[in-house]
């Protein structure tokens, strides 16, 4: 009987392995889907689902993404889009942390919320959706709030943390845990037509500077709410920052905040 590698190499078409071939290998070689994915990428082949990534990401970069671990803290508006985009890109390990269940007022912007899952834990819904989209992704879902008490365990061995929280004090706790754990943090926040993104590496303390004078729980979103397109946009910019950190490519928003005003269509970069 041919080996797994022989099987895959014989069935590659222009360097691509179709989903049906990968699924057959999983079943007949007794593998998990992620294990099959790693073998394919290790052979310098590409699961066909990533064909449209190919011109921008090499096979080696796709393997780097597959081996990466990202923690997404918060699975509401920002978190839903971030998790979905990371999974479709092929980031192999995603930890999702959120203590909430879906409510009706989430339906205006939270990607995973639907009429039939109101009342269900956001992290459980996210995990089952990602399984339907990309079974090569390993999801760790944590139905709990991120705090400075459990935080360092939750982000242990993670390469990058994404801030998708909705509370300023929680964000400051997250920033502190990331600082202590020596892990980069990509921050995004939204309110009304406005949003901001920054990337904080250990020693930067950017979030502490941004929120240094604020003592409340919420910012302008308390009065302005959150709009679907602003959430999707800020989440997407966060994902672009995450990918650059994972691949060590391009320029990030380290030491800078990108502030978006979609009402007046102004993008401002502020350097700290």
């Amino acid at each position: 009987m041919e080996s797994l590698k022989e099987y895959l190499l014989a069935r590659a078409e222009n360097g691509l392995i179709r989903l049906s071939i990968q699924a057959w290998a999983v079943q007949n070689f007794g593998l998990t889907f992620p294990a099959a994915e790693e073998t394919i990428l290790g052979l310098n082949l590409l699961p066909a689902r990533y064909q449209r990534n190919q011109r921008s990401l090499s096979c080696g970069q796709q393997l780097s993404l597959f081996r990466s671990k990202v923690a997404v803290i918060g699975c509401g508006g920002l978190g839903g889009h971030i998790v979905e985009e990371l999974a479709r890109l092929g980031v192999g390990n995603i930890t999702i942390v959120d203590p909430d269940t879906f409510e009706e007022h989430n339906l205006n912007r939270q990607l995973f919320s639907k009429l039939d899952n109101l009342g269900q834990p956001k992290v459980a819904v996210a995990a089952s959706r990602i399984k339907e989209i990309n079974p090569a992704v390993t999801i760790v879902s944590v139905y709990d709030a991120f705090t400075s008490r459990n935080g360092s365990v939750l982000i242990e061995k993670v390469d990058v943390v994404a801030d998708a929280l909705d509370s300023i004090p929680r964000r400051l706790e997250l920033a502190e845990v990331c600082e202590k754990s020596n892990i980069p943090l990509v921050h995004g926040s939204v309110g009304g037509w406005y949003g901001q993104v920054t990337t904080q590496f250990p020693g930067d303390y950017t979030l502490q500077k941004i929120y240094s004078r604020y003592i409340g729980e919420r910012g302008i979103e308390k009065d302005l709410g959150n709009l679907s397109f602003v959430v999707a946009m800020i989440a997407s910019i966060e994902v672009s920052e995450i990918v650059k950190i994972l691949l060590g490519e391009g320029s990030t928003l380290k030491g800078k905040i990108l502030s978006l005003n979609l009402l007046d269509m102004e993008f401002s970069e502020i350097t700290f």
Binding site: G191, I210, S259, S268, I270, T271
Partner: protein, 74 residues
């Protein structure tokens, strides 16, 4: 002295985007926030000529003051 004040995001509502003001010599950012009815909490990020400042920062003629509100939703 003349100071240019630039407001961002929701701070513009019922105020302005950018405008020039005459202030007394020695005025601080805090004085300007008070004159614009912006609380210190609302002025989350303060920049003077592109450098991070605070309510106690002094201003001089020709300065550009930029003020951003706190954005915290997710």
């Amino acid at each position: 002295m003349k100071v240019t004040v630039k407001l961002f995001a929701s701070l513009r509502k019922d105020r302005f985007a950018v405008d020039d003001f005459d202030y007394q010599e020695g005025a601080t950012v805090g004085h300007i926030l008070a004159s614009l009815h912006i609380s210190e909490e609302e002025a989350a990020i303060i920049f003077i000529n592109g450098r991070h400042g605070g309510p106690d920062s002094p201003l001089k003629d020709g300065d550009l003051l930029a003020i951003f509100p706190p954005v915290g939703g997710g």
